[in-house]
């Protein structure tokens, strides 16, 4: 789960990390009130979960009121890589002489958190990692013990940070690690950390992603998550508790188990169709879950046809079949053709229960996907 920049910065500031003075604004008037208080130059920054906001035109620096108004008008409501901007962070511009990158993330391969520092801040760090991996200093942390303070200093010195600010940067890094641990973050990143002419050290950006599996012990963060859905269907999936990802195609996909659902998407593509979504109903789904899943996929206007693929282990084919019948019997006319394939536990019972006036049935995964792709093609022709 991604936090917005302004949410992460509030957490940083509360922990004592220096951040620029800022206000959140949802209208041009609010943005102007904010710059009146903060002064110039002021950065107007789109609050959306999109990387590379600056390049895409989502961050502008205003040097006077006229520019501030113009940029706020431009950015509020703009479409940034598919997301509509409904708030901006208005932030005091920082007069910097140097930019650093600092971050904490989980190194999957090592199974340990890793601290990262680079003097090549302010640019895409993944490109730095690719082109000049030595420009990033790394230090692994023993997750059972936690961070030794010397480790934060060591990695900062190793990165070649100027000696007069090194301890301030190490102190920020050490606080970031505490926040990483306390909040069950999967990733915390400040890019850039700015060094001013007066040698002050300021966190000018803030990326903080939280491990969704740990939200049960962070109810405060879970509330922030509810504020940050960008898409109505994703919000709905969140309410139903489905694993759901929206794509751009027209073949709706419902299945059980992440690997099998991904495979179903891949097969739609392999047979010449375009997947509209990833929807995993999880293990042991009963009739109600099935109804909710169909509701999700039917309410996506991009979907022209649906494939429903279940391989039952703990999920029972007869339960799924009952759910499909119940969901579809509510309609006078089925909104989109549904192809069903059931295998595994109680699949035969399920096949018998399925109302074949309402759905098409196939025995193999490959056949079911091909038929759904064909159905979608018929709609678009």
């Amino acid at each position: 789960m991604k936090l917005h920049e302004h949410q992460a910065k509030t957490i940083f500031a509360d922990a004592g990390i220096p951040v620029p003075d800022s206000r959140l604004a949802t209208s041009v008037d609010e943005a102007l009130d904010a710059v009146d208080e903060i002064g110039y130059p002021a950065a107007i920054k789109a609050q959306v979960h999109v990387g590379g906001r600056g390049k895409a035109g989502g961050i502008k620096i205003a040097t006077d009121r006229e520019e501030a108004e113009q940029y706020a008008e431009e950015i509020l409501g703009m479409d940034l890589k598919g997301y509509t901007v409904d708030s901006v962070l208005v932030e005091a511009g920082v007069d910097f002489v140097d930019e650093l990158y600092v971050g904490v993330t989980m190194d999957r391969g090592e199974g340990k958190p890793v601290l990262m520092v680079s003097t090549e801040g302010g640019v895409n760090i993944e490109e730095v990692a690719e082109e000049n991996p030595d420009a990033i200093a790394r230090e692994h942390v023993d997750p059972s013990f936690g961070l030794h303070p010397y480790q934060a200093r060591k990695v900062v010195y190793e990165a070649g940070v100027d000696a007069d600010v090194a301890l301030d940067v190490a102190s920020i890094l050490s606080t970031l690690y505490d926040l990483y641990e306390e909040n069950d973050a999967s990733e915390i990143e400040v890019n850039p950390v700015m060094i001013t002419g007066d040698r002050d050290v300021i966190a000018a950006d803030a990326v903080m992603n939280i491990d969704e599996d740990a939200l049960f012990r962070h109810p405060d963060l879970e509330e922030l998550a509810e504020e940050s859905y960008e898409d109505d269907l994703e919000r709905k999936a969140g309410e139903y508790g489905f694993d759901y990802v929206r794509l751009s195609g027209n073949v709706g996909i419902i299945g059980n188990g992440a690997g099998l659902v991904m495979t179903t998407l891949d097969l739609v593509d392999y047979y010449g169709g375009k997947p509209a979504n990833f929807l995993d109903i999880g293990g042991g789904a009963k009739a109600e879950r099935v109804t909710q899943a169909l509701d999700m996929v039917f309410s996506d206007d991009n979907v022209d046809a649906v494939v429903f693929n279940i391989f039952g282990g703990i999920t029972r084919g007869d339960e799924v079949a009952k759910g499909i019948n119940e969901a579809l019997e509510q309609f006078d006319e089925i909104p989109k053709k549904v192809v069903v394939r059931l295998a595994g536990t109680n699949a035969e019972e399920g096949m018998e229960i399925l109302n074949t006036d309402l759905v098409e049935v196939e025995k193999t995964l490959e056949d079911a996907v091909q038929r759904a792709v064909q159905n979608a093609e018929e709609v678009t022709q």
Binding site: M106, P143, D243, V245, N256, G259, T263, I314, E366
Partner: protein
């Protein structure tokens, strides 16, 4: 022969009094697994399906000689349950639980490196040696005895591939779901190494998915160390970057690492044919044997 579990394995089920634990303990017993004990704090002295329940794993080992555990404990308490298994020096712990916080697993992983216990999972369907023992939630009826080893990051995808194999009369020596989380115990390489050493395994199927670099590392291992033929499958070719595809570990990073293509290329470079469909995987295995 087989790997990691057989009919001598003596199983303690952690969380046997919960809904899932009770149901699957019953299924494991029905399959013929030696379920010798349950372990649930506060429930010592009870019985589930004739299986004695103890308060601690330690007691289950003392009283019933358990040497492997299967963990059906909710995410908030699962890491603690795994620690209990590791600290009791069991040979094997199989963690079924999905949704354990990653930072908890990092701590488990550290402890794991200090013990001799093998951990399978978490967020996995478990392990089965057909005709001998099943530790986990895999549906026993789709498996058949045979000579194909299978290792996979996904549960239902495993069932799909096994179904395709079984339909053609290609039985399995052992099938392992290693789990879909970013930090797991047994890796592809651990399983491949064991299959390579197992005289009862003539071919191996490896089902990977997007995220991380385990498949790439496994491909290098196959190229350098394996004579047993391996067929591959990789799920997630159509996954967009930055989105978690169900499994916590199934995510292509913004910089483009962890893609299906990188994994498929690595496997092909190691001489491993990768099926475009699950059916094609079975075709490749048939060609091997």
């Amino acid at each position: 022969m087989s790997i990691f579990v057989d009919d001598d394995t003596r199983v303690v089920v952690q969380g046997i009094t919960g809904g899932e634990g009770k149901f699957h303990a019953g299924q494991m017993i029905e399959y013929g697994t030696n379920v010798v004990a349950g372990a649930v704090p506060g429930k010592g002295g009870q019985e589930v399906d004739g299986v004695p329940v103890y308060d601690t794993v330690d007691e289950a080992v003392e009283e019933e000689d358990a040497d492997a555990s299967v963990i059906f404990v909710p995410p908030a308490f699962a890491a603690d349950a795994i620690f209990e298994s590791l600290d009791t020096d069991l040979d094997l712990a199989v963690a079924i639980t999905e949704g354990i916080p990653t930072q908890d697993m990092a701590k488990v992983n550290k402890r794991l490196s200090e013990t001799d216990t093998r951990l399978i999972g978490p967020n996995c369907p478990g392990i089965i040696t057909p005709g001998e023992a099943k530790l986990g939630i895999l549906p026993g009826n789709i498996f058949s005895e045979g000579r194909v080893g299978l290792v996979s990051r996904s549960g239902t995808l495993t069932y799909q591939v096994v179904d395709n194999l079984t339909e053609r009369g290609l039985g399995q020596s052992t099938a392992i779901g290693i789990g879909g989380d970013p930090i797991i115990g047994t890796s592809f390489i651990d399983a491949l190494e064991a299959f390579e050493a197992d005289p009862a395994t003539d071919a191996v199927v490896m089902c990977g998915e997007i995220g991380g670099e385990d498949e790439e590392q496994a491909a290098r291992f196959i190229g350098e160390h394996m004579d047993t033929p391996v067929a591959g499958f990789i799920a997630g070719r159509t996954a967009p970057p930055g989105k978690r595809m169900g499994h916590a570990g199934a995510i292509v990073s913004g910089s483009g690492t962890g893609t299906a293509q990188s994994k498929i290329d690595a496997l092909n470079d190691a001489g491993v044919p990768v099926g475009d469909t699950p059916e094609e995987v079975a075709d490749h295995v048939e060609d091997f044997l």
